[in-house]
Amino acid sequence: MKSITKQKPFDEIKEQLDRFDRVYITGCGTCATMTRTGGREEVMDMKGRLEELGKLVTGSTVIPTACDEMTEVAISEDKGAIQNANCILVMACVLGVHRVSLYIDKPVIPALDTLFIGVEDSPGDFREVCAQCGQCVLGETAGICPLTACHKGLLNGPCGGTNNGKCEVDREKDCAWTLIYQRLEAQGRLDLMRKYHAPRNSNVTLSPRMIKITSQA
């Protein structure tokens, strides 16, 4: 699993940092490093750009995995520099932003936009595979998620916009239902495509979603 992120437009970052002149930067050694949005190199690049703006960068770090509880330890190792800053710029996904704001009582500014949970097909090519709907149908759709891979999230087959296997929203994008059809056909399981799917429950877990996992079958 990877949290796929994209750096915010620099103007937006600049605006958010407008009233802060001393900044501490944290990156993340896991997902944001793999997406090249918050690894060591990007943190250093950001440092340079902020200094050009006349900001004082009091320090920086790349937390090994910004979303886990070890973040607290990583942060405590650089207490002085953090004390010295009047805000923290986080170059990690929202889970990292969330962690950092739990442990540091200073304004926390995200430098990245978290886009989706996805996989890397080839270097630099990321694709969303799951929208965490809470009622997985992959078993009936040959492992391709119609809620995620179909632009309209359709459950009962393709819309009329499918165009030689491509989707009406983008000539480059495969139509999810053409892919599902091809795979089910190859597996001799086309009967699954004929099955009627009732409307989805959009509130499987009420928003904000929370669950207590207990040991049970």
Partner: protein, 301 residues
């Protein structure tokens, strides 16, 4: 009393429907003019529902106008802009105002339209919407609660006979039939051999099929549709025919092409009728019907 659209569909006569594109804004004069021109010539008139995801005067509003002026409307409902509460509520209004025909569609994707940042809803899909109608007819809403007064609709859907690959579309077509669709208006057809093949298949189902006829007004439009509209394939010989027309004559060529196609469909009893879409040139529909040799009365023979 005039026969209902369902009665006309089941009469065995060749059925003609057409459609009205509502305006972007409150100036409904042209729409009313088109309604008045067509309401007595066709069995029923669709009103598009923010076609191509372009925000416009709504289908329901257009249908009410058709009703007021003595025509029989087909309410087009897409699943793009309303969740299941809003869809059901709209069906309740429609029924109380005498609207008896609904065409259930998924709806185009939001980003192809003119409000690209809007949220697409798709809480239901076209198949689920058909079932919702049938459930509401039984006196229950989608939550399983009793309705104080049920609805009753002649429900239809669409199918794209020229989609490639076709099999996934046919599976969905069958799902729509199983979910209560009584009639289908097809996406534009131009290749009659392909359409005949589709009809051979579709005849096995207890539904009425109205072939989609989209008026071609120029070679440019035909090429544009081939490039940009999924499921539409205008053959090269028709494009050439339009292109060879003298300046200003292409529209007449288009009317001729559409009219001849309808005449052939009728003569060879290929399908149960046609749905004529003139996309902004609704005033030309009577001419197309004339070329096709269709009498200008509701119940065609």
């Amino acid at each position: 009393m005039a026969p209902s659209f369902r009665e006309i569909l089941n009469s065995g006569n060749f059925v003609v429907t057409s459609e009205i594109g509502p305006p972007k804004g409150t100036n409904i004069e042209k729409m009313l003019h088109h309604i008045d021109l067509l309401k007595d010539k066709v069995a029923a008139l669709n009103v598009t529902d923010h076609q191509s995801s372009v925000m416009r005067f709504p289908s329901l509003g257009g249908c009410l106008a058709i009703k007021e002026r003595g025509g029989d409307p087909i309410l087009q409902m897409t699943c793009r802009d309303r969740n299941r509460l809003a869809l059901q509520a709209e069906l309740l209004i429609a029924y109380t105002r005498g609207i008896r025909n609904v065409l259930c569609l998924t709806g185009d994707a939001v980003p192809v339209g003119d409000h690209k940042e809007a949220k697409g809803v798709f809480d239901l899909d076209s198949v689920q919407l058909l079932r919702a109608i049938r459930q509401m007819e039984s006196g229950k809403d989608l939550g399983g609660n009793d309705l104080d007064g049920a609805v009753e609709f002649c429900a239809g859907a669409i199918v794209t006979p020229e989609a490639r690959p076709i099999e996934p579309q046919l599976i969905k077509f069958e799902k729509k039939v199983e979910s209560g669709a009584e009639f289908f208006q097809t996406q534009a057809v131009y290749d009659l051999d392909n359409f005949a093949e589709f009809m051979q298949y579709a005849r096995k189902f207890p539904v009425k099929i109205l072939a989609g006829i989209v008026l071609l007004v120029s070679a440019r439009m035909a090429r544009y549709m081939n490039e940009n509209v999924p499921g539409i394939f205008v053959p090269q010989y028709l494009i050439d025919e339009l292109a060879s027309a003298p300046k200003g004559e292409a529209v007449n060529r288009g009317i001729e092409i559409a009219g001849q196609m309808i005449a052939t469909l009728k003569k060879e009893s290929l399908c149960d009728g046609v749905h004529i879409m003139a996309i902004g040139r609704e005033e030309l529909v009577p001419e197309i019907m004339e070329v096709a040799g269709l009498s200008s009365s509701k119940s065609q023979t």
